[in-house]
Subunit: 220 residues, 4 copies
DNA sequence: CATGAATGAGAGTTCATTCAT
DNA sequence: AATGAATGAACTCTCATTCAT
């Protein structure tokens, strides 16, 4: 079997895992359900993935590395720090909302991982490390962009860039997933997305940036 | 045994559950660990609680109802909407930070609950409903306060109150728990709190309110 | 529940394991079968033993330590090396043949253990070490006794004591278990014991010792 | 593909199985490991062998039939019963020690087979029967030789020939594999062979025969 | 009230075996 | 003749929950 077919099957299983785990939560999802959703046998999952946790970790890793690499790539075409910031929101937006599985991602990313010591295999520990690394990189990039904007005077510099990064990140996540305090899984899946559309989110983030901007753009 | 002693034992177990579940996550925590932490036997937990899930749900319910009731109570002494908003942050702050368990709450509230259909007992379904209700109430209260502020002209009214509520809520949670994308459990527990102190958070939230306020207060 | 009852239950399970594993072999025996034989649930086995391997290791350890300690103890009452040697055969005989499970022991002791690295728990590795130690001790004791007999001139000293120990040990085991080349498990269980009685074995070992003895005893 | 090539591939796989199973034990060995060792795919093993058990049984059968046929053949050139006995030890010696895999055979022959009822295929049951048959033949031959020696007065006839056969067989096996009570697999593989060389074993067996012989030969 | 021995459902995982290519 | 992706049976093990004491 050629590599393309193998990759296809792998991503079929991963997509099924995204749906089932995103819907029910990692610990309520079973491999049987994922296998059924993917249309394969239980055993085949272990041919493509080391174990159940590998599915979750692979999903997280896919997301964080996709965000980082896409963002990094698009950044090269931009000069203004504020544009870079907007670019980040756009990238996040594109990845999360490009298909019907959009809301599953929010639940995947909110899953807690077990302590690193619990990971038996070297390969899994390595993936784990890359997730942590990816998170740090993302945060660092955003903080740097904000710092640049403050230096050249387009963002309010009376507030530490780390703080502003958290404000923007928290707002973004809550706007996407409609969280206030943590909701129950089913409530999230069923209700939120319909009450919140893409345009609204983009506008809201634009307003937020504007508030911290020294030369606010006018929104249409 | 009198009611006071019973309540005491109940809350001893609940506090142990907060620590163990907050530290390891609901599914990685075992009743043995909680029992040991509480200094009681495994069996006794089932005398005070229906099952394991009851522990998690009871913790969530305690938190959300405490926030709501305290907030509701303190609101009566206040007139200005912006003061009411600040009051909410203060209440949240007091509950979360009043003891050494502060960061456990963040992990508790981030736990996903199983779909409501999975709850067998009536009592549990009822508690579950009260959590959902509590969340809605909280959101509704905040949205109302923001609406009032916009009406009397102390908050920017070009932005829908629901959106602003999410921005404030997301910022608050990320500031407390240092999230950007979800981190691994151990990272959260070990690192974040130390890098982020109470005063910093209060200041940050004040700045955020100020940005949306039409008559900003001057921070010292 | 008091310690006596606990020990009783533990040994009930161990005895069931001896029967089932001895009969079918470690890898063909299942925990279900052992649980049924012991009249307990599958789960209870894991309350008293760490895992399946712990059962096998505990059986081996019981045997080897029982042989060593009983032998050691009885040795103190004896002076003549040849009597000490006969004592060893008697001890082995008593332990193996004291109940209806006699032939199971042969199969248990012939089971191969997995490489020590495969043992996850510290406790299991420790038991494992004691088995290896017990084997070494046993061999050392026999070799020493033979050496003494050669020194005082009751055994032929033209043959190294280690070699003689293996000759005696091999003869003993084959006489008990009727092996020539390895037989199939069922053949062993069904046929051998009946064709070979205790007296015959004792006589055979006595003859063997006599052959290497410089002052042979006359057998009746 | 011609028969020679097929036989070659078959014996390549069998030799790999000897190594892997001899090293790790039948149940800890996997077909993947054997396939890798043989340099073929997992699937191909099932072209040449019915199933995993067929590998083990084929190895055992190869050994026992090789011993028997070689022995039978060489016997025709000999008259004296004691020479026939020595011939058996020589044959055993040649087969076991003729290559670097020597010690694997000991572990193979010590593997327990599942109860005959568990064998589904007719072909496997037939092979199984031939192994049992081969064992019996071997034992019978040795017993007969001893009986002849006793009849013509070259071996002590006060001991039943079956008993003497077991003494000789047990001594031979323990001398080769250094067993006393069963050791752990790794200990056997790593240590014993080096401490025990061919010459020592031959001498020891010669001494043993001498002891039971009425006209002992002088050893050099 | 409290204990902890006992239960058993249910999960992940392994790996021999099959079969389309 | 050879491959290796795919299957699924069967296992061990965990741990929430129960209940006799």
């Amino acid at each position: 079997m050629n590599q393309d077919k193998i990759d296809l099957k792998r991503s079929t299983i991963l997509r099924a895992a995204l749906k089932i785990i995103g819907e029910r939560g990692y610990h309520y999802a079973t491999l049987s359900q994922i296998a059924t959703e993917a249309g394969v046998s239980r055993g085949l999952i272990h041919f493509y993935f080391e174990n159940k946790l590998d599915l979750l970790i692979s999903l997280m890793l896919f997301f964080i590395e996709k965000v980082n690499s896409t963002h990094q790539q698009e950044l090269t075409t931009l000069d203004a720090p504020l544009e870079k910031l907007r670019c980040y929101f756009k990238v996040f937006n594109n990845i999360v909302l490009n298909d019907e599985d959009s809301l599953y991602w929010g639940n995947i990313l909110r899953e807690g991982l077990p302590p690193a010591q619990m990971l038996k295999s070297k390969m899994l520990r390595e993936k784990y490390g890359r997730i942590v690394e990816g998170n740090k990189n993302l945060m660092k990039t955003i903080v740097e962009i904000i710092g640049q904007a403050q230096t050249i005077g387009t963002l309010d510099n009376s507030i530490p860039p780390q703080i502003l990064a958290l404000i923007l990140g928290g707002s973004l996540q809550f706007l996407y997933y409609g969280l206030f305090l943590q909701r129950t899984r089913s409530v999230i899946v069923n209700n939120n997305y319909e009450t919140m559309n893409e345009l609204l989110i983009k506008n809201a983030m634009e307003i937020l940036i504007n508030k911290f901007s020294l030369y606010p753009k006018h929104l249409k």
